[in-house]
């Protein structure tokens, strides 16, 4: 009921909502020149406030209004999302300015998408889970197709939309079965009811359909093979800042929701969903990497690479355990580490792609040739991000890999470990292809180009982030272990 609602717990969400409205009003009333810096400024200010509001509540552990959890797990994702979206906004200032005049709407949509992420990651009820995911999806469709007159943007959005709509319908069917079996939509309550006697007798018959159908939706959001076909197209066709968002925050949300639903609502079905995810993980990383190997567009290559990375993240969830005493490497903290590392890294890589697109018109491998001479900062930044993606220490990607490989080793899933190993190497192979283009190939005839200021800041922040996560792994380990512990009931 309303009177028991603790509004403070919803402060991050409210701040985002208000900021989105303010952005729209600013867009209405500010002069264009002012709006150009005021819009991103206001958006970033709102996100920073939301970040602070979420950070201040770190450590809380309660359910707000029956359908949202205010726990460390959720706050962790909120923090990551807020930071990443700030970076996205910084990276998009010039990119979007040159491509559309609906800037106010763009930033407002980004904020609403973030709001949806906030809701989805803290959802403790099938209804909020669905609504959060779906809001995120629908706003993402719009963002993907934002450059309406650009064929690629539009087609990307349509592909994304069609896959998304089907996936969410399938997921809903699974949810409805869960609801039918347990008579409730509350995740924790579902878990309790699933262990009740009358339900138990039917469990084996509902378990597979419910798990598979529900997993489809999450798998779509997290772009796991075989529900990934939208991803490369959407990532390539969408405005690149949007791609940054999709490939990091949106994907992370898929994992957050997947983890929460499976761990909170279906712990007793663990063997079912873990087996499913095991297969998906292997499939995802292998297929993603193999296709990425063949790409000539860097944007598309990164798209497939982020599919492959989804497989790596999934490893954490496959091998999730609840070791006593809140020790690290319980699997879930691997997901969390990966998400934060990946947020900086992949967003950074796509930001560089955006900058290269701005500077050279496209983002094929050829456009990256000799980048070190033409835009040394970009090349260096890209190198750092690619190395991080490859998992080279002391960068963020290493921390991530460490934390997802660890639980797999702990559980002694040797097959998975070997597949992951091979994939890590394959992935490094195509990352190095880009490095090779940037550093080894020399094209003296191509002109140098400059990087926009917002982009420069965003890249610096992301570089700092990538190094920070890698070197000060302990802070992030601390936070992710705490968050994971809360979720695992430790």
């Amino acid at each position: 009921m309303l009177n028991t609602l603790n509004v403070v717990r919803l402060l991050p969400e409210l701040i985002l909502l208000v900021t989105a409205l303010v952005v729209i009003f600013v867009d209405l009333y500010a002069r264009r020149r002012t709006a150009l810096w005021l819009l991103p400024g206001v958006s970033i200010a709102g996100l920073v406030l939301a970040f602070v509001a979420a950070f201040a509540q770190w450590g809380a552990q309660e359910v707000v209004a029956g359908t949202l959890a205010a726990d460390s797990f959720a706050f962790y994702f909120k923090l990551v999302a807020a930071v990443t979206v700030v970076l996205v906004i910084l990276a998009s200032v010039r990119y979007m300015r040159e491509r559309t005049r609906f800037l106010g709407e763009f930033y407002a949509f980004l904020l609403v998408a973030t709001l949806a992420v906030f809701v989805a990651v803290s959802a403790t009820d099938l209804i909020t889970v669905y609504l959060g995911l779906e809001t995120l999806s629908i706003v993402s469709y719009v963002l993907t197709g934002f450059l309406r007159d650009d064929k690629r943007s539009n087609e990307a959005a349509i592909k994304y939309f069609l896959y998304g709509a089907v996936a969410s319908a399938i997921m809903l069917y699974g949810f409805s079965l869960l609801y039918g079996l347990t008579g409730t939509t509350d995740l924790a309550e579902i878990a309790r009811r699933l262990q009740a006697g009358d339900v138990l007798a039917n469990l084996e018959w509902v378990a597979w359909p419910a798990v598979i159908l529900a997993a489809v939706g999450f798998a779509f959001k997290a772009s796991l093979v075989p529900f990934h076909q939208w991803a490369p197209d959407a990532y390539e066709g969408a405005p690149t800042p949007v791609t940054m968002f999709l490939s990091t925050v949106s994907k992370a949300t898929g994992f957050a929701v997947m983890a929460r639903v499976f761990l909170t609502a279906m712990p007793s079905l663990g063997e079912y969903w873990m087996a499913l995810l095991y297969g998906l993980a292997i499939l995802t990383m292998t297929v993603g990497n193999l296709i990425a190997l063949r790409q000539t567009s860097v944007k598309r290559m990164l798209a497939y690479s982020s599919i492959a990375h989804a497989g790596f993240i999934l490893m954490g969830l496959v091998a999730v355990t609840a070791p006593a005493g809140g020790h690290p490497f319980n699997g879930l903290d691997g997901v969390l580490m990966y998400v934060v590392a990946y947020a900086f890294t992949n967003a950074g890589a796509f930001a560089v792609v955006a900058a290269v697109e701005d500077g050279t018109g496209d983002a094929t491998l050829d456009n990256f040739a000799g980048l070190i001479a033409r835009a040394p900062f970009l090349a260096a930044a890209m190198l750092i991000f690619l190395l991080s993606l490859a998992g080279v220490p002391p960068l963020a990607g290493f921390a991530a890999k460490l934390f997802v490989f660890a639980p797999v080793v702990r559980q002694e899933y040797y097959a998975l470990a070997v597949v992951a190993l091979v994939n890590a190497v394959v992935a490094a192979g195509y990352y190095l292809k880009v490095v090779k283009q940037m550093f080894f190939v020399e094209v003296p005839e191509r002109p140098a180009f400059a990087v926009a200021r917002g982009m420069r800041w965003a890249l610096w922040l992301m570089i700092i982030g990538v190094f920070g996560v890698g070197i000060f792994m302990n802070w992030f380990a601390f936070m992710s272990v705490r968050s994971a512990a809360g979720m695992l009931g430790l």
């Binding site: 220490p393 192979g429 490095v435 090779k436 080894f440 380990a477």
Partner: protein, 517 residues
């Protein structure tokens, strides 16, 4: 001296990193300044490493062995991973070797590298930090971090400043090493889950998986893969000829001189003390691989026409000695050989392996410098293109002969002692295999004398092709090589200090592994 004790390693470790950042801040147009800065900055760790060498020696004489200069600062408390570094009788010489070869390489490169100077020196200094880190790390995570940090700059050094096939070679180098290192990471994690720590010292005390040979073997092979690729042992060696051949001169020097030692060092620092049971169990395998490497490498050398490639394959062969020595010690650990013989033999074999690590660094480093010097003039590495250089380039010939003879193990030069110790140790333990391995020594003499000396230095001088394009060694080249030549002579005549160092390290490691002396 408390300050020295506490900070010397850290300063050595991070000094090159600071230097590299300094280089980064210098505008790329000021190439001379970049060169000066990097060379002088690299001298600092060299001096410190020399001081360290001496200091450790005095301590050693004073009776304090084992790991010294230990620093342990909590890094990731959740994982029990810490910034834990230290140096013992094994690592101190290797640190010195690293500092020496880096300084020489930088000095040499300053004259040779004209293209993208800033990046070059930046990467080289970064590389030095990575190598130092591996030799100092006493924590598996830290070890892994520095292991990988060393990987990236070398990838660039090969890829940007290498020869025609540099891109292929750099990619191959990186990917091969990465396969190994990821496997190694997985094995480290397995160790962690068994013990709850990444600390090498603690792990050594705990000796995880001592009673579970299956899991111990799994972990062993995870780490083994990473190290053996780096060493490189046959059949993981295929990246090496490409990488060495295509790398720029200084890159080859570091690659052969230091990076290969990282793998061998890993065997001694991690595998032997932490997983002695598996090390012993699979010791015979290492013997076999070592012998195959020796013989195979040597025979392949005979078939080379590319001078640099020949030296590269000789590295495979020479690193085979290291493997043979280590494997023999492992076999001795099983206790399957007579007690009395194996006790000292194991230590001797390990002494030999360690000596070989150091010597090979010096000798092959020198050889690669020499090949580089020739290449700078002739722009070809084809053996058959030359002939009769002994008359035209006498100084060069002389230096080359010293290095070459050292390489083939001529008594009086450094190489002799390591080969001698290895075979002396191994003969007692794995007699037949050691005997087969000895074939390699013969073949080595063959390719040094027949392939190189006969083809390059003797015979007809091709006047119309080379005319006066080839000139003898000049000052900076001499300055680069003389320190190495001197060390070869010194160690050839008086190896005792180094042998003492290594012997104490070997004894200590074997003791930790459960060998009673």
């Amino acid at each position: 001296m408390a300050f020295f004790e506490r900070w010397v390693l850290t300063i050595i470790l991070f000094w090159p990193l600071l230097a590299s950042l300094w280089v980064l801040l210098i505008p790329k147009e000021q190439e001379d300044r970049i060169r000066r800065v990097s060379i002088w900055m690299s001298v600092v760790p060299l001096v410190l490493a020399a001081v360290l060498f001496v200091d450790y020696g005095t301590r050693f004489l004073g009776g304090t062995g084992g790991i010294q200069y230990e620093v342990q600062v909590t890094w990731i408390p959740q994982l029990g991973a810490s910034y834990h570094i230290g140096a013992d009788a094994l690592s101190v010489p290797l640190i010195f070797l690293t500092a020496l070869l880096t300084t020489l390489s930088l000095y040499y490169s300053a004259r040779v590298i004209k293209h993208r100077v800033k990046e070059y020196f930046f990467l080289f200094l970064l590389l030095e930090t990575g190598m130092f880190g591996v030799f100092m790390a006493l924590d598996l995570v830290l070890f892994y971090v520095f292991w990988e940090v060393g990987l990236v700059p070398m990838f660039f050094l090969i890829g940007i400043w290498g020869h025609e096939n540099r891109m292929y070679a750099s990619l191959k180098f990186f990917l091969y090493t990465l396969v190994g290192s990821v496997a190694m990471l997985l094995a480290f994690l397995a160790l962690y889950f068994k013990t709850g720590t990444f600390d090498i010292v603690k792990l050594t005390e705990m000796r995880p998986f001592a009673d579970d040979i299956v899991r111990a073997s799994l972990v062993f092979f995870g780490i083994f893969l990473g190290l053996a690729i780096k060493v490189p042992s046959w059949p993981f060696h295929t990246w090496l000829p490409d990488a060495h051949t295509e790398a720029p001169t200084a890159g080859s020097v570091i690659l052969a001189g230091i990076l290969l030692k990282l793998g061998a060092y890993g065997f001694l620092r991690i595998l032997l003390p932490i997983l002695p049971s598996a090390f012993a169990y699979w010791g015979f395998l290492m013997v076999i691989l070592g012998v195959i490497s020796i013989v195979y490498g040597a025979f392949v050398c005979m078939a080379q026409t590319d001078l640099k490639r020949l030296i590269a394959y000789s590295s495979v062969s020479h690193m085979g000695y290291v493997m043979l020595g280590l494997g023999a010690a492992g076999v001795a650990l099983t206790g399957s050989v007579p007690w009395l013989a194996s006790k000292d033999s194991a230590a001797l074999a390990m002494d030999g392996a360690m000596l070989q690590m150091f010597n090979h660094g010096i000798i092959t480093g020198a050889l690669f410098f020499l090949v580089g010097i020739l290449y700078e003039r002739a722009h070809t590495r084809d053996l058959t293109a030359f002939g009769g250089l002994s008359a035209k380039l006498p100084y060069y010939y002389g230096i080359f002969m010293v290095a070459g003879f050292a390489s083939l193990g001529l008594p009086g030069l450094a190489g002799f002692w390591s080969e001698f110790f290895v075979f002396r140790g191994a003969f007692d333990i794995v007699r037949i295999w050691a005997a087969i391995g000895a074939i390699g020594v013969v073949v080595t003499a063959g390719y040094i004398l027949w392939r190189i000396v006969a083809n390059v230095f003797l015979g007809e001088f091709n006047e119309e092709r080379w005319g006066n394009k080839l000139w003898d060694m000049v000052g900076y080249e001499k300055a680069t090589l003389w320190p190495l030549i001197l060390i070869m002579f010194f160690l050839g005549l008086y190896p005792t200090p180094l042998v003492n160092f290594f012997n104490s390290a070997a004894v200590e490691l074997l003791t930790k592994a459960g060998f009673m002396f």
